[in-house]
Assembly symmetry: C2
Homo-oligomer: 409 residues x 2
């Protein structure tokens, strides 16, 4: 835990993650699904935690998502999460469901807790059955002390990711210190409405279930659902928030005077993870942020932002540091939002490139130089209202093609 920076009373704890909140431990190991890298991980809370989840909108929901949702529905509690990478257990039929249930049961037995308190999830190749012998052997060993390590968990959930993704924040509720920590994976098959993405958020806040779910859904819409890498929405996406109450604050609800502090903390964690996923998009060299202002509705602002951030032509232009505002304008034009072409202003970083229906006077070399930065921001002013939205993505590079022409997801 290095130095901390503060924002609205919410402090970011550097290097903090899912075990910063009280009462959580995490671990990971190599059980043999992947060749070498870690592929099985867990988070366990000392006590059953209130849980809320959001899941992929893809009609082909993977088996563990079905099992986890049904389990959570029983009492909105989860005490443990078991994750494997390297195999998504998706499109695996009845055997897939049986395998997800077996993972759940196996880990519940090791912990001595009811099965429905274990959430299971998987990420990796679609359509292959899980190697259950390896997983079951792994489950029997994974709670050993040598595997207990937050870093191991963060490693064990990765697929084509090039780095782990984590953040933690702290703030005060009812005078009690409350922490929220999170980690996520996701690199390809990433698109709004839940990416191929797993997000795990822990908190020691004491919070009402319905309000936690409300907060998670609201926050997801402005964070995880506003990122795209390649426009593909996966079968396995899920974000789970566990809240075990060990901070001993009075129960948070929407009526609690410090509700907004909690929601802001959850948003900071989610936005940070979402941006890290976008930046780590397959083959990406840059994080691209698109800010849309002046829309006549929130939906319109989001639609314009997503249209731009999803455009292969915009993404390749940014990779090529080409100030190609024409492609940005084109993407606005096919977003489906009835914009007013002559009212729109487009900026690349501090440089206005399009205004009053015409390209602006700008010095090409200056904008090219800006586009060489690792974090690039596009700003669109629609001048039709007061709604704003931000979307995040990355550039489209040779390496994206390389990774996806050879990696079997």
């Amino acid at each position: 835990m290095a130095q901390a920076t503060s924002l609205n009373e919410i402090v970011v704890i550097e290097d903090g993650s899912i075990t910063l909140p009280q009462g959580y431990k995490a671990g990971g190991m190599h059980c043999g699904i992947k060749r070498k890298r870690l592929d099985l991980g867990y988070i366990v809370s000392e006590v059953p935690a209130t849980v809320a989840g959001v899941y992929t909108t893809n009609i082909f929901q993977a088996a563990p998502l079905v099992v986890t949702q049904e389990s959570i529905a029983k009492e909105n509690k989860t005490q443990a999460i078991l994750v494997n990478s390297g195999n998504a257990n998706a499109c695996t039929g009845e055997q897939g469901i049986a395998d997800a249930l077996a993972m759940q049961k196996g880990f519940a037995n090791e912990l001595g807790i009811p099965e429905h308190l274990v959430a299971v999830t998987s990420t990796g190749v679609i359509g292959e059955l899980l190697p259950m012998d390896k997983i079951e052997t792994g489950i029997k060993q994974i709670l050993q002390k040598e595997y207990e390590n937050e870093e191991n968990f963060k490693q064990a959930i990765l697929t084509t990711d090039t780095c782990t993704k984590e953040i933690a924040v702290q703030f005060t509720i009812d005078g009690k210190k409350v922490s929220i920590g999170g980690t996520a994976k996701g690199s390809g098959m990433i698109h709004p409405n839940m990416a191929t993405m797993l997000g795990f958020v822990t908190t020691d806040a004491h919070i009402n279930h319905d309000d936690l779910l409300f907060a998670l859904r609201e926050v997801t819409n402005t964070t995880f659902n506003m990122i795209t890498v390649d426009g593909d929405t996966s079968t396995n996406d899920m974000v789970l928030v566990m809240a075990n109450g060990l901070a001993e604050n009075n129960q948070l609800t929407k009526e609690h005077p410090e509700w907004d502090v909690f929601k802001q903390g959850l948003k900071m964690v989610s936005e940070s993870l979402a941006k890290k996923i976008a930046r780590d998009g397959e083959g990406a060299t840059k994080l691209v942020e698109v800010q849309v202002d002046g829309a006549f509705s929130l939906e319109a602002a989001r639609a314009v932002g997503k249209s731009i951030i999803s455009s292969n032509l915009v993404k390749t232009a940014i990779y090529g540091t080409d100030p190609n505002w024409g492609r940005i304008v084109t993407a606005i034009g096919y977003s489906g939002v009835p914009v007013k072409p002559n009212a729109i202003k487009v900026s690349i970083g501090p440089f206005t490139v399009f205004e009053n229906g015409l390209p602006s006077q700008f010095i090409e070399e200056e904008v090219k130089e800006y586009l060489e930065l690792e974090n690039v921001k596009l700003i669109v002013e629609l001048d039709q209202g007061d709604f704003s939205a931000t979307a995040w993505g990355c550039d489209l590079t040779y390496d994206y093609v390389k990774i996806n022409a050879s990696y079997r997801t």
Copy 2:
């Protein structure tokens, strides 16, 4: 005109194109917009032709599209088309409109016909003003005999295309020989609902305007609007059909006993051009065809087809000859169509790869070998009804990134 092959009484005339129908001439030249390649072209009919057009759905319609649509609206007639490549005259404000009008007026003067009988269109870079001095000099020379050549026209409309695209068919209506010829350009910024694509179709059929427009719209929905290269819908797309009546058949209407022959001929021309555009997608090495059967509606069949053909992950897998049915199934799952996962059958060419919610037994090497072909077909059976649709696209390759990280469109 080499040998001919016949289909339902409709004969494909090999090497035929826009000047096969009676009364059309075409030409092209280098006027100086591009460095070396031809960049200005025309089609002229001996007599005013009934005309029908379909145009981009992008809100930012380029200036020539505005001018051409207004001109055609006057009496649904066009006698000449003037096209430049290298500059799209899009996002160019009032000066862009003035330039498009000047192109129209200049060419009408050379031909000695009313201005509204000249359609103008442009393709190329967005947001730069046309070099009108070069274009006006070109217009004064382009009708010279040395530039009159159908091949020149086909060259003059290209941008990142690697080849010209043409087809012609002949059939009989009322005992009269009727021809339809077509050429098109398009390689990047290609997506359903009019790609960055120009299509020019000529026919000597005598046909009622409203019925011609009806036929064009219907045919466009199953051909030009079912291709994608990169999901970007351009500002300049347009398909124009000119029908000059010189075949002297009785006027075609939907009630004419041979209406279906004409419509089928128009569809053959449009489908052939659409497939050639998809195959020539930027960086593409393959034409990919997705056939969707058993949908509960035509819209559902099209949505599933477009979802698959637009998936970057499916496109990179095909480039890598990876029988990655999981990505196909995923794309079906996020198409927005309420499919039944366990009812779906997916085939890659002759090989069934997914059925009853599970991967099929197939020999990976056999499917890989099939995917090495230049024409790849994916077949999806949804088992929900009787509607079918076909979509065309291409693979996503290193060269797509290369072309678009450096070429300014």
